[in-house]
Subunit: 139 residues, 4 copies
């Protein structure tokens, strides 16, 4: 069984991302997942900045996060992203967030997206994007 094409990005927790509980605020994980999604599309050869310039937006329709361990200030984390489901009008990304030091799981989650044009009308996921996702080499 192969694991789907996956992109990973290391980063350090910023001070501004912590809250008075002494850990990264739980809304940050959604931002970190997005960073991994941006990296995934870049690695795929379809950078999201280019997709938007071509007039297509991947609008988020749902997000879910499960938090397993706290993330501390300045700790190095690795966020990973892969595609879990791909349909004509929907793409579902999955994410994991791990500590760089020992690979222990900090959080996992997913997001679902539809494609729209500049007028926010739903359109099909662009064919070149579907093809890139489907042909990306798993491991």
């Amino acid at each position: 069984v192969t694991r789907p094409f996956t992109s990973s990005l290391p980063f350090n927790v910023r001070y501004a991302e912590t809250d008075q509980m002494g850990v990264a605020h739980h809304s940050q994980h959604v931002v970190w997942f997005e960073m991994a999604r941006v990296q995934y599309m870049k690695d795929l050869g379809a950078p999201y900045s280019e997709v938007e310039k071509a007039g297509v937006y991947l609008v988020v329709t749902s997000v879910g996060v499960r938090y397993r361990r706290p993330a501390y200030f300045d700790e190095e984390l690795v966020v990973s992203c892969w595609v879990e489901d791909l349909r004509s009008r929907m793409v579902r990304f999955a994410y994991s967030l791990e500590r760089a030091a020992d690979g222990s799981l900090v959080a996992e989650g997913h997001s679902e997206h539809i494609a729209t044009d500049r007028s926010r009308r739903t359109v099909a996921i662009p064919q070149y994007l579907r093809a890139a996702i489907e042909s990306a080499p798993g491991t």
Copy 2:
């Protein structure tokens, strides 16, 4: 059938909360849900600031958001919060986010929390908090 005790909070979308898609960024909804949860606990007579001072933290273990409509800069929204499930060691809040102008649904979601002490050890949800939630008047 009664609706559980619910707290609501109006607010306007901040410019800093928008992104280059021209709408509020999807991570903001998690912050807005938290605002409603803080309001809920205040209305309950158990403000979260007091709960933390008493040494108890409500740590988020999962979050889910479904996005229905975009939220635009300066638009007035109303975020609401109620308790969907309450167990000895877990509480689940539910949320809705609506446009103030017409009540149309912008997003809905939930969060689950466990209680911990200052050393991040899981503890039971404090009895006074359980009692307050269970006796709060529905409508």
Copy 3:
């Protein structure tokens, strides 16, 4: 001596705005100043959302903040904004941030802005905006 036309906005510090020092993170003050600026323009009859729709952007060219007291979670603050300087191509706003409870000063600051069109070319501050600022009643 009159005080210039001033807009004020009360709000409560959000949990997500705190950091592990146990106070609101210092970048938040810039966001709160912006909220007061948005309120100022609304009170002036020239909401920023309308200004942007008319194709004019007030681009920030400098910001300064002096922090006097910490801002704590859930504390009610009042942020105020007025115009300190107005030229053909620049407007300078000033801000104060106070505790609602006792009026004690939390922070003060300023921001300078130029006007641009959609192509980011500098343009004159729109005449209707200059007129509104200049004729706004001081106190």
Copy 4:
């Protein structure tokens, strides 16, 4: 003339950091400056996480930013930090933010800090921190 000891950190602008003007929101620069300050202290051998664990907080008393060019989504930037002034009870950091591609200046700024203990009482800048700053090799 030597340039003082300087730390630099490359990063890419996050989508969540943009606003509807299509550029990074101006409050983000304050967060990026903080990232460079954290890197500076790490390079100095006095990581801020350790300083805090030792009971000393570097509390921000003022911040200033001058914005020169917009920062766009996914653009690679380099933020740099050095010490501009050091007194017994105050340290002033300076910052520059440049495009990685061509070194053009995006923003510059400064921040001033006092040291406090856990009870928010002002204390002297710790001697080991002063010594580390003063002996750091310029270029």
